[in-house]
Symmetry: C2
Subunit: 485 residues, 2 copies
């Protein structure tokens, strides 16, 4: 099976609804928004990722003969509809926020404008891809923030939720700020640095630890990182590592990069002791790398306690986003094209929970920056086509607690539209940057956030406001709803 | 890219270690065990799954020209080794516990016997696959247990950690006891039932809820489940559903299966009210299905409160195993074949944490059942080749708290070896059952557990003991270790 053959990666109800629309001859253009309601792990922002895989998915949408045959066998689809499916391709438009951009709850991060049958089909896979990669990119950003400049390596493949979770999780981790991954397939497919040394089994396959170290050092003088905790870190591992480092030094064979890796025990204590031993032996430039069930919380604490660690391998907790393993992206109908005048009629989904009420209409987002600092002041969701004059004052107000207002003085702020066109009439018009380019862009994106927003605990939330016009339309739709109630 | 082309889905260090072994001409046979230390979600058992994908992976191991070229470009592998890789195939043996079997911590659930270079390479992918699918099969078992006979549908694709997590997660969910999945691709690939009806967008795309329901009922009289919470469940959704049910009844067009689905609000209250309304209207046989952030804990509570729900759609929390999103399977060296006599020399990995000390040697597992009840008494880990006479008494003792002893009277128990051969000299000699056959087997497996072990909270843990011979070898290896310390 081809990796891109994900056409049937959809919920059955997308297909039953499609057949329903087909039967009624109902295929007007609609707009669906992808948005999320809360940042994962109570973060102050999220990082969007996955667009390149969404593009692949959309480009390769195509029901094979086998697919159609399988659907026929379910006994719920009629031949007319199956015939339609066999000629299916995506003919709509997609707008999205580029990968690596910092994003906030409630704003549309991807928008599909397409005949309802097409727009419905693609819901599940788009959410699957965007939810997964945005989750891991966001989690990684937290871990990278906690490391405060130290390098984070992604080591989670063996605990990822299946091969794709390892592969695309590594991709998202690179976007979120990792310096490398242990995942060789990710290295090959996404052209990102791969990293790693040896496991306990290497040590155990030699008669003793010293011989295992020496053999490794012989093989890999460019990057000789020795795992020191197989038997006893401070009594055996570190002394044996120092012995090997000394022998190579004396033999006039210096390493390009070298050091030790700790993978168990108390990393704060062991790293400080190991640092002393290495320094006293004249190996102050040997690095200390640590792994073992790390996450941003432990890393933060270890750094507070002065752990002498300069590089970190993070596995399970990053690749599964353990404390929050799902990103709650949803896909909601925002507008239906009117048969009469072709205009998009805004649609709203109400809910007893105010937070769950959707924003109607064909929308875009402007990010508002402070002109002096370059930091994000707020995001403004508005209708496509609304114009703003940054020379004039702007009054921002909270769409729920509308008495909360902020005035931006004309000339003090800059606006940038962050939703960009990706597909136009079914054709892809967007070229994805490389993963390393996205990672660089993401690093710069995070510089536009205040430190208060990047904090791990109780961060300041960035304002996402509605334009007065959008707010009025939403309000009047809500009023209509409650009148008919 | 081919879905099976996972040869590079490995950690870089597996390849750097392989090159190290290659350079030293060191390729003796070794034994690696896959085992886990704790049941996920504090469950009383786990369900193993993923073996069929492991078989596919092993069968398709093969470094393509492109793979070798990529590795060459990393600048750390020499031509001799790359040449070796280009001819690589797996030549070893694999033993495993069949999918769907209930398993317990510390026992080898899969065993690789192969030249060390081969055994090392396959570590990462084997763990990735087994960890993921066993996790979801186990989580599903908990949810199914909480549902106490009601059907559980797997609805999580959009929140799964990437396409594979959705696909193989659905497979594992079927093994764990779901009655169906919304995932169409899983339905096609694994021949499992697919399920689903319509979304809020279906309702919103019609002028009103009644028209949307009526159209759906026209299309799908065989299974007409109407989503009633788009506007107001009790004031609008349920009355409109009843109106449609009535019209079809009066028109003499009864449904094969019909009912309503609740997807928000308080499911206990709403289901009881909806049940009353349906019953009073003469639709006592209409089913009520519920979804919305369900897991085994909420399901358990809703049932305690008498929720009138007979079928449940479970998404995010099942497909990500939200409260415990990783299964801690590890891959540890257990023995190395001696060059002298070809015997396997047991190896042990010590740790300051007693729980983390491995079990040495070439082992197998016998499951011990009570002859009368058919329930599991304990699992016994022993060396391959040890024999036991079930007519004789057996003394079981806890391998850590050795004073804890249980005597089984001769004739009162049955033993079954649960590790079975899967690969022999690189050839697969095992035929995987179909997913539905595995699911059926798993249902029967759970019948061998006491209710006390299946409980959601603080379940009774099943004993996993060592044979006296294995215990003695382990003890003497530990004694040797501490002497050289």
């Amino acid at each position: 099976m081809n990796r891109q053959d994900l056409t049937l990666l959809t919920d059955l109800y997308e297909l039953t609804m499609m057949q329903g629309y087909y039967a009624k001859g109902q295929n007007e253009k609609v707009i669906f928004d992808v948005f999320f309601r809360q940042n994962p792990s109570n973060n102050g922002y999220s990082v969007c990722a996955g667009l390149d895989q969404v593009i692949d998915y959309i480009k390769n949408l195509n029901f094979t003969y086998e697919d159609v045959d399988y659907l026929r066998g379910l006994g719920i689809f009629n031949e007319d509809f199956l015939h339609y499916l066999s000629g299916f391709h995506f003919s709509g438009d997609i707008y999205a926020i580029p990968e690596g951009t910092v994003i906030f709850p409630k704003e549309p991060i991807l928008k599909v404008i397409a005949p309802i049958m097409e727009a419905q089909l693609v819901e599940t896979a788009i959410l699957n891809i965007i939810n997964h990669q945005s989750l891991i990119a966001t989690k990684t950003s937290r871990v990278v923030f906690a490391a405060n400049g130290d390098g984070i390596m992604e080591f989670g493949l063996r605990r990822a939720q299946g091969p794709d979770a390892g592969l695309y999780g590594a991709r998202a981790a690179m976007i979120g700020g990792c310096v490398g991954t242990s995942n060789v397939l990710a290295g090959k497919l996404f052209d990102v640095p791969v990293m790693g040394t040896h496991a306990h089994s290497w040590i155990m396959s030699f008669p003793d630890e010293y011989t295992a170290f020496k053999n490794y050092a012989d093989m890999y003088p460019d990057n000789c990182t020795l795992l020191v905790d197989t038997y006893d870190t401070l009594k055996s591992g570190v002394p044996n590592a120092i012995r090997v480092f000394q022998e190579f030094k004396e033999a006039g064979k210096p390493f390009k990069k070298y050091g030790i890796r700790l993978d168990s025990g108390d990393l704060a204590y062991l790293s400080k002791e190991a640092r002393k031993m290495l320094d006293e032996a004249g190996f102050a430039d040997a690095s200390i790398c640590a792994s073992n069930d790390l996450d941003e919380y432990l890393l933060h604490d270890l750094k507070m306690q002065g752990a002498a660690i300069d590089s970190w391998g993070v596995g399970t907790n990053l690749i599964t986003s353990k404390d929050c393993p799902s990103f709650g992206g949803v896909y909601k109908l925002a507008a239906i094209q009117s048969e009469e005048d072709g205009a998009f009629e805004p649609k709203i989904k109400i809910s007893e929970n105010t937070e769950k009420i959707t924003n109607p209409g064909n929308k875009t987002i402007y990010r508002i920056y402070d002109k002096t600092t370059g930091k994000v002041k707020a995001d403004l969701i508005c209708f496509v086509g609304e114009t703003f004059n940054t020379d004039e004052d702007m009054l921002l107000f909270d769409p729920i607690e509308t008495w909360k207002k902020t005035k931006l003085s004309g000339g003090s702020y800059i606006m940038r539209e962050i939703l960009v066109p990706v597909f136009k009439n079914g054709a892809c018009i967007y070229k994805s940057p490389s993963v390393m380019e996205i990672a660089e862009y993401c690093r710069n994106e995070k510089k536009t956030l205040w430190d208060e927003t990047k904090r791990l605990f109780y961060p300041h939330q960035v304002y996402v406001d509605l334009s007065p016009k959008l707010y009025e339309v939403k309000k009047s739709l809500l009023d209509q709803m409650s009148m008919t109630d």
